[in-house]
């Protein structure tokens, strides 16, 4: 465990920067929170404003409940059919495009529960200038139109209108005809079979019919005065599906169920209230005034449907499509709540609207956000109207579109996401680039710094080149390392020059000594033969040679540089060298074993000789008496190997490692003339020849071998040199 910990060194710079960079992820987090907060604030402000407006409007009606009391019957036994006030003139052509209403919201559905079955009816009523208008959309899978030859009027698809006339009698009008010919309104008999007035059409009732893909659309008009003061009114659609039997398949009534009275109540908006409210309307808002039963008594303005025709290829839209999938995740991460898109709220919308109105009618002002569709969100504020008795007379509802807020929120969110993602990306890229560059610079510096000193600890270069101009800490590091190197270099130069300086400085006094001794021996005859004079001269010589050797070794590198290399036959050189060794060192035997062919290497011949001198000196010093010193030359594929082996004491492991270092001697202490320079000189020469030297104990432990490997010369022209190489 401890070992493992000791090896743990911490992350690389790149990893650290990446970790730090990930802190940037909190930027979108906070931005999103801010957007949410701002949205909440804006909505809250909007809600309060709307509530205040509602309150203001409600104040206008406070204590004026009489404005709402123009409805004749206020009991709940009738179903109200609300009538929309119409702004412009209406052409009775079976189409509702001139009504200026949002049909999807204003159509009331009758028939089956879902309103999508055969003979189901959707209807909207309108009022303008004393005329009651109706638009009816009918689903009818088989349309059967009037046959002029059939006298009975109940034998085709038709629209019937029931009402109570001013005189208190039941009024019945049936609109019969076909899309080709105009519809005719007939006042009908009690059985709805024949026209009441002998087939004369009712001129005041007009209607038109259009056939659609899945049914029929009727548009009719009749004067409100036809209805009695009660304004009891009902519409029914008669569906005939079999063109042959022409029997009535189904009748769909807008009329209430049988337990209630046979008519609906046409509820018109109170003109007085409307007049008041009309002047208060403003763009983007709808103001509704409800009576205590929640019936709309006045309405003004409309919430504009937002412009959905946004160019789908626009930049913003594409951005939105990028942002939308991110939003729920972002929302969940930042707020911890599940993200509710508008669509999910849509189903609750109707119920919420009722809740808002009910709350206001119970005396509690309320403002709530309502989602109408995915594109449309409104705030609905409701404020109660108090009656003169202190009760609730009704309520004012203001609906205002908050799409601008939603839109603002959405676009700021998009911006937040976009800016965050872009900046994150840029930051990450910048960090990666920076980390890579930093790591590269440090690596470079490390490489150069470690190259500045070779395996022997010698300085190769007095300064660094990379990063020297950099102004940052790496530059400082480089400069300080470089400074260290140059100081080290100065010191090294001093050390290197020391033998030379020493020789220079010692040679002069030595010369004084030497010349003085000479003069002494010539001037004082008694001294001439003195053994002291001789030993003094020997001493002078020895100091001289020591200093000389030191200087030579120190200058060797430099001297080698000026050496001229030529291609020489190492085999011949060694052969003659070993032969000469036997003459120069008669006390030893030398054995040479060569490959029997020329071995060419690019070398300076007498440097090789000098190298051999040092190796052989070493071998002679260490060899066991009467054992031969073996010199062997081997040739490998691209190198030659000179091995000088002698029997004698073996090397210690430490000696094996440091044998070729300068000033390292493994000789006994009493050997005064050696400074460990010999084998150092060998190494320098070998390395100058791009070779390699090592010392090793013989396998049988009987002695030591020094092996020098040098590269073979590359023969320039193969054809002329072939005969010499062929002998290999």
């Amino acid at each position: 465990m401890k070992k493992w910990l000791a090896r743990l060194r911490g992350p690389r710079i790149g990893t650290k920067l990446a970790l730090l960079g990930s802190l940037l992820l909190i930027v979108p987090f906070f931005s999103y929170r801010q957007v949410i907060e701002m949205e909440r604030l804006l909505l809250e402000g909007q809600r309060n404003t709307q509530l205040l407006k509602a309150k203001g409007i409600a104040t206008l009606f406070n204590g004026r409940e009489n404005l709402f009391n123009d409805l004749p019957v206020t009991t709940s036994e009738y179903e109200p059919l609300f009538v929309q006030p119409l702004a412009g003139a209406i052409r009775i052509d079976g189409r509702a495009d001139d009504w200026g209403l949002d049909l999807s919201r204003s159509l009331m559905t009758f028939g089956s529960a879902d309103g999508n079955q055969d003979a189901d009816v959707r209807m909207v009523l309108g009022e303008r200038k004393g005329q009651l208008y109706g638009f009816v959309r009918v689903i009818d899978d088989r349309r059967v139109f009037r046959d002029e030859k059939v006298l009975r009027l109940d034998k085709s698809d038709q629209l019937r209108i029931s009402f109570i006339r001013n005189d208190g009698e039941d009024g019945r009008i049936a609109f019969v005809g076909s899309p080709q010919s105009a519809l005719t309104g007939y006042a009908m008999d009690e059985s709805w079979r024949f026209a009441a007035q002998a087939g004369t059409p009712e001129p005041r009732a007009q209607a038109a019919m259009v056939e659609t893909a899945d049914g029929l659309e009727f548009e009719f008009r009749l004067p409100l005065e036809m209805l009695g003061s009660q304004r009891h009114f009902g519409v029914s659609f008669v569906d005939v599906d079999d063109p042959d039997s022409r029997e009535i398949t189904r009748i769909t009534h807008t009329l209430p169920t049988s337990d209630k009275a046979g008519f609906d109540l046409v509820v018109l908006q109170s003109p007085e209230v409307r007049r008041i409210v009309d002047g208060l309307g403003y763009a983007g808002a709808r103001i509704l005034v409800l009576d205590e039963r929640g019936r709309v008594r006045a309405e003004t303005g409309s919430t504009p449907v937002p412009d959905v025709a946004i160019n789908p290829t626009s930049y913003r839209d594409r951005l939105r499509s990028l942002v939308d999938p991110v939003r729920p995740i972002l929302h969940f991460i930042t707020t911890g709540e599940r993200y509710d898109a508008g669509a999910a709220l849509f189903s609750k919308s109707e119920r919420e609207a009722r809740e808002v109105i009910e709350s206001a009618l119970q005396g509690k002002p309320i403002a709530r956000r309502r989602v109408l569709s995915e594109e449309q969100t409104i705030i609905m504020a409701a404020h109660p109207i108090t009656s003169s008795t202190g009760g609730i007379a009704g309520s004012v509802v203001i609906e205002e579109n908050i799409d601008t807020i939603i839109d603002f929120q959405r676009s700021s969110l998009e911006q937040v996401v976009f800016v965050s993602v872009t900046s994150l990306l840029l930051m990450v890229l910048a960090l990666i680039a920076y980390a890579a560059r930093l790591a590269w610079r440090i690596r470079n510096l490390r490489r150069e710094a470690s190259k500045a000193i070779d395996v022997y600890g010698r300085l190769r270069t007095p300064s660094l080149r990379s990063e020297m101009a950099a102004g940052d800490e790496i530059g400082d590091l480089a400069r300080s390392v470089s400074g260290m190197l140059s100081k080290l270099h100065q010191h090294n130069t001093f050390l290197e020059n020391m033998p030379r300086t020493l020789r220079h400085e010692i040679n002069n006094p030595l010369n004084i000594l030497s010349t003085s001794l000479d003069n002494m021996s010539s001037e004082l005859p008694g001294v001439a033969g003195s053994k002291y004079l001789d030993s003094a001269r020997r001493g002078v010589l020895r100091i001289g040679s020591i200093v000389q050797n030191l200087a030579d070794a120190a200058n060797l590198d430099e001297a080698l540089q000026s050496e001229e290399m030529e291609i020489i036959d190492i085999a011949e050189l060694l052969q003659s060298y070993v032969a000469n060794c036997s003459i120069s060192h008669p006390q030893c035997t030398f054995v040479f074993k060569g490959p029997g062919c020329p071995v060419y290497a690019e070398a300076a011949d007498y440097r090789i000789e000098q190298m051999m001198d040092k190796i052989i000196d070493n071998a002679i010093d260490f060899h066991r008496a009467n054992s031969p010193i073996k010199v062997q030359l081997d040739m490998h594929r691209d190198s030659l190997q000179i091995t000088v082996a002698n029997r004698g004491p073996i090397l210690s492991p430490k000696a094996e490692r440091t044998l070729f270092d300068s000033m390292v001697s493994h000789r006994a202490q009493d050997n005064r003339l050696h400074f460990g320079l010999g084998l150092y000189v060998v190494r320098v020469i070998v390395e100058h020849h791009r070779g390699y030297v090592r010392a090793m104990n013989l396998v049988d432990g009987s002695g030591v071998a020094i092996m020098v490997q040098l590269p073979l010369a590359v023969m320039e022209s193969a054809s002329t040199e072939q005969p010499r190489v062929a002998a290999l």
Partner: protein, 232 residues
Amino acid sequence: MAKTIAIVEDDPDQRANYSDAITSKGYRVQAYKSREEALTGFDRDLPDLVILDIILGEEVDAGFQLCRDLLSRAPQLPVIFLTERINEIDKISGLRLGAWDYLPKPISLDYLAERISSLLRINQARQEQQGEHAANIRKVGDLTLDQDALLAAWKGKRIDLSGTEFRMLAKLVRNPGHAVNYETLMNATMQSLVTNNTINTHMRNIRKKIEKIDPEFAHIKSEYGFGYRWVE
């Protein structure tokens, strides 16, 4: 008349020792301790031979400058450099300036005296040679050595050798075909501290000087581990 030997050496002990030794050999000695002093002395009276140290006081190449001055006045004047600066470069510069020889310290005074007398003799021989006098000339193949005038020629062309080089070459060709060992060659240099390396350097210089005249020259052969041989 006794020959005049000028010694320029800044170290008083060495200067005194040289003076004593040379005076005792019967020469007249002018000893100077600086370049200016020497120049003033030479203006007065030009010596027959000059021994120069290279570094004089603070001036690191005062010896070279003096040599140049002297040789411009008297091109035949024998000049010996005697210095502790024995770097290759100094050697070359010294000889290129026209110095006759170049001796490293420490020096043996006997050798110095011998050299002085030999150089004076040689100088005289050279002057006398103007009259086509050939006394002690040795020919080995294409090599001609005038032992008295210390002049060597290869195929009739003069080889510009220093005194030391001439002596080594003479030693090498004394017995052509036979190897001459390092020790013999060392003795020929007449210097007290000589290594194999010094010999090798001298030999290489001799070879190069002859090769300058005759690129095909290959008569000096290394006897690795022993010495050199002159091959016919």
